[in-house]
Amino acid sequence: MNKKHSPVLAGILSTFIPGLGQFYAGLRYRGVAVLLGMLFTSGIVAWYGKPIWYLAPVLIWLWNIWDAICAARQGRTFSVLLPILFGFVAMFGIGLAVVGVDFSKADINRAIAIMRPMFHPDFIQKRAESNQAWVEVMVPCLPGRSVSGINEENGKKVTITPTCADIGEALTITASGFWPNTDANLWWEDPSGSVKMIGPGEAAMLVAHTDGSGTLTASFKVPTTATIAVPDVTQSPPHRVYLEQTRLLGGFELSYVGGRVLQGALQTIGMALMATALAILLAIPVSFLAARNLMSGNPFTYAIYFIVRTLLNILRSIEPLIIAIVFVVIVGLGPFAGVLALAVHSVAALAKLYSEVIEGIDPGPIEAIRATGANWVQVVRYAVIPQIVPPFTAFTIYRWDINVRSATIIGFVGGGGIGFLLIELIRINNFRGVGALFITIAVIVMLLDYFSAKIRERLV
């Protein structure tokens, strides 16, 4: 600072026009920035119009006067921390005002109902075998419609007496040929196939124990809801009483849902592989067209370069999820639509990365190999390929890694794989399955992350 500035004048100037004092003190950019910041903040606050927020421009205005005085007195400035802090508070405030925090619809019980099964993922189950039999019974007793009340199969025999009854009447079931000294569950199934409990209060399974010879006897009442789903009792087919014993075989096995989750995961990884492979095929030739150093030779090739670059940028800015919706319409639901969407997005992304590798080639080795009298194919083989293959591979693995994650999301819109399964499980409220699926996704992504990082480390 070779000129003296009056701090009082600077302060007065900034009082009337924010930033003018700083401008006067020689800090022109700062002055303009303060003025613009002040206008912006005031504008936003005025537009939103909550009185409390008028505090923000007032505070900035006060700071601005102080800043102008400091600038004029010392020829240097105070920290910008304070206005940045104001700015941050203003940002959050505006966001809050527009979006709002709404917990009014929150339901902790529903959250628990979903979260609890998710923490007991249905992935593996104890290995078990079961022993099942059933017998038919008529409800109510009608002339000319009767059943035998006996069912024999696979060495098991189940008898029910009487063979017909009305709601609330007692029935006795006798069964033989079951595993000895084991609990058996008994339940009722109406003609529509819906299950009714016949245990205490019709709220629990009826459990009976077989004796040493594998025989059991149990009494219960016809459940009160037995005919609720039967439109015309006079035409009704017989109801059934089931008996089932289960015993553990020791060890664990994949559950049904767990199997489907693994299948889905495999499909997702496969989708990513196929999409990446397709993308490589297209991206390699395109990347040469998008490499500035190869294409800047004459206006014609430069025009091609420019067009290819622009197209790639446009393509890359469209989310694969949105592309997938288009492809679902074109080729129908299923993993193939997802593959095409991922491939299109990956071509754009890979071609850009590849072209940057090509742009970064060291011309030295090319010159050196040319100097040995090598022909151009040999020059490409010995000087170009060794330079581009490792980074190409690294970028491709990285892209595959991203594609696996994207493929998970793309399943949501019908693109198949693990995402499709996820939406299905949520729809049927199978949150134990959702839990298993989350674990699988997390494990896949972590493994992929780790190994792709390791491989890339070695290549680059």
Partner: protein, 253 residues
């Protein structure tokens, strides 16, 4: 005998790198080209094997007109001209062996060479070249794991694979420290004594005094000096390097 006649190079952006440069290099010479950065030394060396196409002028090698050679003839000519670079120009990710063998590409079966398959004889030759420059133990290391001096030795071994009639060395020691400079130049001197003509550009005058049999000085693309190193007196030095130049010595050896 290499004969350079009225060589001129004008780059597309209008820079005139060489203006009417003419001189002769008899067989067996260690010719050093000196001059400031940007004086045209690199362009001159590259015009000889046409890594850069000269705009005008002729380069004769014995009776052959290099500047008029067809693309195929040019490959045959380059095959016999070894080249060593300031930045070594090795393929950093390839092994030392592959880098050395690549010097042999002009001789090799074009199809097998694309698969990086080399006859035993060529591998033996490459090992011998590495032994000559003292780093046979590095044959299967990746080129970029070597130090600067070792990388330049690989560069020389690569040039040796060409069984060159002459070697173009473009600032071969400018990226190396002074002690290494001597060891690299001694290899070139040894090759020169075995009958290979060397054309080398150098920065440091003491190195020029020590190794050159003859000197060509360039300034702004013009030849401003030709003679022996001892003929470079203060006046000549100022003429080549400009009024403000001070002589800096590479080493005290």
């Amino acid at each position: 005998m290499l004969k350079i006649e009225n060589l001129t190079k004008v780059y597309p952006n209008g820079t005139v790198a060489l203006k009417n440069v003419s001189f002769e290099v008899p067989d067996g010479e260690f010719l050093v080209v000196i001059g400031l950065s940007g004086s045209g030394k690199s362009t001159l060396l590259r015009c000889i094997n046409r890594l850069i196409e000269p705009t005008e002028g002729k380069v004769y090698w014995d009776k052959t007109d290099i500047t008029a050679a067809s693309p195929t003839e040019l490959l045959h000519i380059r095959q016999h001209i070894g080249m060593v670079f300031q930045q070594f120009n090795l393929v950093r990710r390839s092994s030392v062996m592959t880098n050395v063998l690549s010097g042999r590409l002009g001789y090799a079966n074009p199809w097998l060479s694309l698969l990086n398959i080399w006859p035993e004889e060529e591998k033996r030759r490459a090992m011998q070249a590495l032994e000559r420059v003292g780093i046979p133990d590095k044959a299967y290391s990746r080129a970029d794991t070597l130090s600067g001096g070792q990388q330049q030795r690989v560069g020389i071994a690569r040039a040796l694979m060409q069984e060159p009639k002459f070697i173009l060395a473009d600032e071969p020691v400018a990226s190396l420290d002074p002690v290494l400079s001597h060891s690299i130049l001694q290899y070139l001197e040894q090759l020169n004594k075995e009958g290979i003509t060397v054309i080398c550009s150098l920065h440091f005058l003491d190195l020029v005094h020590r190794y050159a049999t003859r000197v060509v000085g360039l300034k702004d693309g013009l030849k401003v000096f030709e003679g022996t190193a001892t003929e470079i007196d203060r006046a000549k030095f100022k003429e080549i390097y400009g009024e403000e130049a001070q002589e800096v010595r590479a080493t005290t050896v």
